[in-house]
Symmetry: C2
Subunit: 405 residues, 2 copies
């Protein structure tokens, strides 16, 4: 008999709790697994010995359904960067001590490419000291920028939110008789996947978004203004989708850098709004989709949530087979009918890597997405959850804040 | 036999097209009504003789269902302020000429308190010149600030969006181990109804929003900072709901004034974010719910949409009875079981008036909403539409932009 631990890390998505359900539900089926510990605030919970007994918290299938429809990370999150063990072994020794004390035989880390760095470092250290704890990474990120996997859990729900909301913003934008420009700022530090997904509106017969700017294309203010002017000659209300990560002149981004060396970005939409107001002089507004694009679980993609649970469960099966240092990945077999299989890859191949939008998805002007790319996005946004409601709004599963302190 | 005309005005909501369906569907039942004209861009369409034949556009029950789930104003909108007829009769003469030419016997104007000003002025002018065209106002506004009526169509869907999204933002905010403040800016120039509706989360057992600031209470930066500090001593993640319309020091609001004398507001959330960062120094972010709170039809309240259709239909019945210069209103009979009836009021009593949040809804500290007020909000956010989808996202009814030009 052994126990296991699971943790959630990085920026919230709508699918991280579904992957937790996947790990939990699959572990219940394994007779060798006894306690299922949740680590509070990602790997920090293991380091600080702050673990909770999930079996005493997730009590029923109904609780699991609630978790599947609850956005963000029910166990909290962190952005802790594990040092190289050769530089600072103390923290690794603490982890080993705490895992050993709890008789934990496998650790599942749900997170983005930073978390996969943790999976890689931990599993390598455990191999080095011959400590038999399996470490498996379960991918998640709305940015969809993980290598090897076809897509990441969390991305489909975010893309569905972006497409649905862009559709609604389009309706909102065309009501007045005067020409206007609406700039919608979408998350994505370096990869334009989520911004590009707004192009699924084109399959609805919409001309919007008329312009789509992703970080993969070098941004030029001159070209931008000329693009906007050209679209204004064709459409009364021009809708622009722009990634937060496009390169604009220095000083626009706040420039604060997080523990992983990421810059906090904000204000690109507002910045372009000012440019359009000053240079073109028309009615213009900017809209930041903000955290809603990563936490709007009321409009999750069922495909995404089901897959997020399935890939968590597959992680447990892989650990039981004795593998470690692996990250679970999706392989797409067909777009239509949409078919995927779950495989695994070495964490070392995924950690700290970014997968950018393929250049062939982007049109020759660098300001929109080619229609064939919609075959990639479309299957990921399909289906709805049957939401459990209370007082007219979706109910959430939440652990009391005193437990998470 | 006569024809009728219908127009939509003011800021978009999720329910304006449902009221259009109400007018349309009810008119189909009246044997005396022949053509049903849609006026493009509110009253401007009547002035400029830009009318479309709705029977040739709304072809089926399916089209009406699509309209019910389509946000914003399918016929466009305007913010045109009708002058006093004694100052400028020419525009009134143009309206009369165009209505007469099309044999229009009744005009239905779906809009907010500005539009009810138009209803009032037009009906008075028509009476003065003895021109027999009935003018009926159908209320709408997410601000819920119309007098006499218990609430306005569009408010319930906006309130449901705000509550659902605040719930999700709450989940998003509590993931990190460090203390944080999240400030959510909600629409409402002078009335705090929509901001106050975020308190329905308290009925879900949430402590968030921990602080709610509405324009009805004089805002003090000192009190705000002391409130935030106090809540931070109790909660790791403090969630603040703030109306865009609270009074802050001069220079924060852009100060641009629209045709009706309204100031365009923006940036209050951002402003308070900076204040908290500088004065308290903790992790802080601000989120503007922006136009999503008025156009997120994917999460409309079914109660709201059904009522919006019903009140449009009731307007037609009133005009057929020979009344004019009236605005349709809801009277609430019970909170539980929720029961309303539709009546009418003189447009002169509603035009240019604002109904503010009752002071008894606000707690004695002026920084939250009392729990008994939830009985008012709760029935308005109940129920969902069975959405018609295409490619995984809700389908919209749209008139080609060339028709609306």
């Amino acid at each position: 008999m052994m126990n296991i631990a699971v943790a959630q890390s990085g920026g919230p998505t709508c699918a991280i709790n579904a992957s937790l359900v996947g790990v939990f539900r699959e572990s219940l089926k394994v007779s060798d697994i006894d306690a299922i510990f949740g680590s509070v605030n990602g790997i920090e919970g293991i380091i600080n010995n702050h673990l909770v007994d999930l079996k005493s918290m997730i009590l029923s299938n109904n609780d699991m359904e609630l978790l599947r429809q609850t956005p963000s990370t029910v166990l909290g999150s962190c952005r802790y960067k594990l040092p190289d063990w050769k530089d600072d072994e103390a923290v690794y020794q603490k982890i080993v001590e705490n895992l050993r004390q709890r008789n934990i035989g496998a650790f599942f880390y749900i997170g983005g490419n930073d978390s996969m760095d943790t999976v890689n470092k931990l599993s390598e250290y455990f191999r080095t000291i011959d400590f038999d704890v399996k470490v498996i990474g379960i991918p998640k990120t709305i940015d969809n920028d993980l290598c090897i996997t076809d897509h990441t859990p969390g991305f489909g729900s975010a893309a569905k939110y972006v497409a649905t909301t862009m559709h609604e913003i389009t309706r909102d934008s065309i009501v007045y008789s005067i020409p206007s420009v609406t700039i919608v700022e979408i998350m994505g530090r370096h990869a334009g996947w989520l911004t590009a997904s707004s192009a699924v509106l084109h399959a609805m017969g919409e001309t919007a978004p008329h312009l789509i700017y992703v970080p993969e294309v070098k941004f030029s203010l001159e070209n931008f203004l000329s693009d906007v002017r050209q679209e204004m000659s064709k459409h009364k209300a021009v809708i622009v989708a722009v990634s937060e990560g496009i390169e604009v002149p220095e000083g626009v981004q706040s420039g604060v850098v997080d523990n992983f060396g990421h810059k906090y970005l904000s204000g690109i939409g507002k910045y372009l709004e000012e440019i359009v107001r000053n240079e073109i002089g028309c009615k213009v507004r900017s809209i930041e989709l903000n955290v809603m694009q990563r936490c709007s679980a009321h409009i999750s993609s069922r495909t995404d949530i089901d897959e997020a649970e399935a890939i968590g469960a597959a992680g447990v099966r892989l650990a039981i087979k004795g593998e470690t240092g692996k990250v679970m990945v999706f392989k797409r077999k067909h777009d239509m009918p949409y078919t995927i299989v779950i495989e695994s890859a070495d964490a070392s191949c995924i950690a700290n890597q970014e997968k950018l939008l393929p250049s062939e998805y982007i049109n020759s002007n660098g300001n929109n997405i080619r229609s064939f790319a919609l075959d990639y996005f479309m299957p990921l946004i399909q289906g709805d959850l049957s939401l459990i409601k209370e007082n007219g709004i979706p109910k959430h599963f939440a652990i009391h804040e005193s437990v998470l302190k």
